[in-house]
């Protein structure tokens, strides 16, 4: 069996909104062809290099190993050129130039640290500090703040232009996920570019002018009242403490210290691949088992693996997909296709706001976080004889939107709040530090039973294409009756992996199994209806890409013919989530992805339906099977059409 990537279907996946894509002129011909697309010489601090025409001074310097400080520049975002921290001297130019925004189009001589340059940069930072209210030792970004680092780098030893001594703006903590403290904002507009270009939400934009300029929401309303999907991507790109997640660690500590409470934590795959960064390790060093030990030392009663409920999600969501296919192809009932994944709460809220008409396409399966919460407060409570009212469930997630998700009013299927607190990777790292633990030094230990078996299919949920791959491993095995290992080498369905914003893959089902697995035998009589069907699948991450796919579907394009589409709110999938360590960049996300795929490859069980804990759950508890009544009550949910207009 082979899967084919169809690049032609995907088309342009540049992230800039259509209205901002520059109108490219015709391809150069004649004399112009000689220099457009050609090489040009750049001499920086006396070193000469040929660079492609149009390279910025900043990029050219970087490729020579010369560092130019920056603030508003970010590797994920378009050029802004607003902070002027990166100024350099260009021979023949009267004024200093912003290196990040200066494309080299003719031979050029640049000096990056003359006296004039150093003084200007220092003054820029002095001016920023004159408007900046904040005491570093009380700030979440202490020791990981670009403004602080610049002040140190430039040798700021007094406030040349004064300093704000009182807060001037109110802190906006209306959102479940993101707190805004404009007192610390340096107006670099990275959050604006993130929210518009990467996420296409547009919650934040600069308003006013001159000294009255602020980053504000629509009508300056509290963030919790405007259209924001809680993805936290703005937090990950903010250079200062002006944006941060709403921290639940005080509540979690209180629960841990309360002897009447049984505090369990589930840990998602992505934080393991990232948390080492908070302890000075390079990106991509997995800390899974060290973290288990640390969590127990910090006082959690049980440490569970969200992979368990990720596998559960796959079974439920995969069954739902097969049922939709059966209804469409055999029963000829009207069903919404393509089916959309629903495990990314940022994506779910994006759809609820911008495309509520597609809510029927969303899988009704809850996210792994919420499934686990419901299972812990029912099945686990019964099994252990602990009163669910005394159980506190904490979820360690790479995500700030999970904080919103666990507070959705409908998430109380167990009769209690299914998940009490969502913690981000950064917050947990902080808690571990407070407990006096240096994570990398911890001995390794395993997850707790009864959900202890690690499966690779759950782990890869953390990476783009992971949910799709996990679902395919299970669906293909059920449908063909063949081991996925025999269909794809090492069960790695590589075509759905990757970092391009949108992926489209076709997968013909050439053979089907003569029998139906007992688990779902009551739902479909046989698999004949899938024989010869070409499954059309797509993956999109970053909601700007999701928007492109949805617009294509609306217009009846190729994506409207898909069967199943994985959507993730964050670029790179969960491993690039808004709760992950700061900074983020394409290289950092790639390193985390590698850690995740390595953990998958090293797992004994790599398919959700083979996870013994899941099999046992269906045998003992969800006895009417996937998508049955009990599972519907506990593991499925409904959505709220929200729209985008604000009163």
């Amino acid at each position: 069996m082979s899967a084919e990537i169809r690049q032609d279907v995907v088309g342009d996946t540049s992230r800039a909104p259509v209205s901002q894509i520059p109108k490219l002129g015709k391809k150069a011909t004649g004399e112009a062809a000689g220099y457009i697309g050609g090489q040009v010489s750049a001499t920086i601090d006396g070193h000469e290099l040929k660079v492609p025409l149009g390279t910025t001074i900043l990029e050219a310097a970087k490729s020579m190993g010369i560092r130019i400080p920056t603030l508003c520049h970010h590797p994920d975002l378009c050029v802004a050129g607003v902070c002027r921290v990166c100024v350099v001297e260009v021979e023949g130019q009267r004024t200093l130039q912003a290196a990040c925004a200066y494309p080299i189009t003719a031979p050029i001589k640049v000096y990056t640290h003359t006296q004039k340059v150093r003084r200007a940069r220092r003054h820029v930072v002095d001016l920023l500090l004159s408007e900046h209210y904040g005491e570093c030792y009380t700030c979440v970004r202490n020791n990981n703040c670009e403004l602080q680092s610049l002040a140190k780098e430039f040798g700021v030893d007094f406030f040349r232009f004064g300093h704000v001594t009182e807060p001037r703006f109110e802190i906006d903590s209306s959102s479940y996920s993101v707190i805004r403290d404009p007192n610390k904002c340096v107006l670099c507009r990275r959050c604006v570019r993130t929210c518009i270009d990467v996420q296409e939400v547009g919650a934040l934009e600069a308003s006013g002018r001159s000294i009255g300029t602020r980053i504000s929401t629509y009508l300056d309303k509290p963030l919790g009242e405007v259209v924001c999907i809680n993805c936290g991507q703005c937090i990950n790109r903010c250079p200062t403490g002006a944006l941060h997640a709403k921290d639940a660690s005080d509540d979690v500590w209180r629960a841990i210290e309360d002897p009447t409470k049984h505090v369990v934590i589930q840990t998602a795959p992505s934080p393991r691949a990232g948390i080492g960064e908070c302890f000075g390790l390079p990106p991509g060093v997995p800390m899974t088992f060290q973290m288990n030990t640390a969590l127990r030392l910090a006082g959690f009663d049980k440490v569970f693996d969200t992979n368990f409920s990720a596998d559960l999600t796959i079974i439920e969501e995969g069954t739902e997909l097969l049922l939709r296919l059966y209804k469409a192809l055999v029963a000829k009932e009207p069903v919404a296709f393509p089916q959309f994944t629903s495990c990314s709460p940022g994506w779910v809220k994006f759809l609820e706001h911008f495309y509520p008409e597609y809510i029927p396409n969303l899988s009704s399966a809850k996210s792994p976080q919420q499934m686990f919460g419901a299972v812990i407060k029912t099945y686990y409570a019964q099994k252990t004889g602990i009163d669910p009212k005394d159980i506190v469930t904490v979820a360690l997630m790479p995500c700030s939107a999970k904080k919103f998700e666990c507070n959705r009013p409908e998430m109380d299927a167990s009769g209690f709040k299914d998940v009490d607190y969502g913690l981000t990777t950064r917050e947990l790292a902080q808690m571990i530090k407070e407990a006096g633990i240096h994570l990398p030094d911890m001995p390794k230990s395993d997850f707790d039973d009864p959900f202890g078996t690690r499966t690779g299919s759950g782990v890869i949920f953390g990476a783009m294409g992971g949910v799709m791959e996990a679902a395919l491993r299970t669906v293909l095995e059920l449908v063909t009756g063949k081991k996925v290992e025999n269909l794809f080498e090492n069960a790695n369905i590589v075509p759905v992996r990757g970092f391009d914003g949108v992926r489209y893959v076709e997968l013909p089902v050439t053979e089907v199994s003569p029998t139906v697995e007992p688990l779902i035998a009551h739902l479909v009589p046989n698999w004949d209806f899938l024989k010869g069907v070409t499954l059309k699948l797509a993956v999109a991450h970053g909601t700007a890409n999701a928007k492109k796919v949805l617009e294509d579907i609306k217009a009846g394009g190729p994506f409207s013919k898909c069967h199943f589409i994985e959507f993730m709110a964050c670029p790179g999938g969960c491993l690039g989530g808004g709760g992950q360590p700061i900074p983020t960049s394409p290289e950092i996300r790639a390193a985390r992805a590698k850690a995740i795929y390595d953990e998958d490859a090293a797992s004994e069980v790599r398919k959700s339906h083979e996870n013994p804990a899941v099999v046992e759950l269906y045998r003992e508890f969800l006895t009417d099977g996937p998508c049955g009544h009990v599972s519907h009550r506990l593991l499925h949910t409904h959505y709220t059409p929200r729209g985008k207009y604000i009163d």
């Binding site: 909104p17 919650a203 002018r209 504000s216 629509y218 985008k644 207009y645």
Partner: protein, 170 residues
């Protein structure tokens, strides 16, 4: 805003979009037209404009709050903008300012209770050699003296009557 009003406003905006196109650079002309027609730009209108141009309401809000001549709150039928930049300052804008406050009965940044007049400061109007300069809606007055202020206001009142009649006929 009532549903019917919203519907009319949306139709009006769609008409403007037909005329100016859906590119980003259509934003300012559309906002200017809306402002001219309604003397302000409502919160609802900004969202419809954003929707039609495929951008976000926060971006429209950013533009509206950036420009002095685009307002969210209604202003008087006649907006007086007195230049306060240095040349006009030296040419005696302070006395003109006092006269304006006196005769209009409002301070700078205010609108008269009958909704006829607003008074504000402006930055250099490009008439520095003929200061003090005063802008009333789109009409520029130069070398304004305190004595002229009364006359300018009377002119406005006269046209306001005419304008009011026009509106009544429309």
């Amino acid at each position: 805003m009532l549903v019917g009003q919203q519907q009319r406003l949306s139709d009006e905006i769609r008409g403007l979009v037909e005329r100016y196109g859906r590119q980003r650079n259509a934003l300012i002309p559309i906002l200017q037209e809306l402002h001219a027609a309604h003397a302000s730009i409502s919160d609802f209108a900004m969202q419809v404009v954003a929707d039609e141009l495929g951008i976000h309401p926060s971006e429209v809000y950013g533009v509206v709050t950036f420009y002095q001549f685009l307002r969210r709150e209604s202003q008087g039928r006649f907006v007086f903008r007195l230049c306060r930049t240095i040349s006009c300052d030296l040419a005696g804008k302070a006395r003109v300012a006092r006269q304006l406050e006196n005769d209009l009965g409002i301070g700078f940044g205010q609108t008269s209770a009958d909704g006829r007049f607003s008074l504000e400061w402006a930055s250099c109007l490009g008439m520095c050699d003929q200061g003090p300069a005063l802008l009333v809606n789109e009409k520029v007055y130069t070398r304004v003296t305190p004595e002229q202020v009364h006359q300018i206001i009377e002119e406005c009142k006269a046209t306001f009557g005419a304008h009011a009649r026009q509106v009544a006929h429309a």
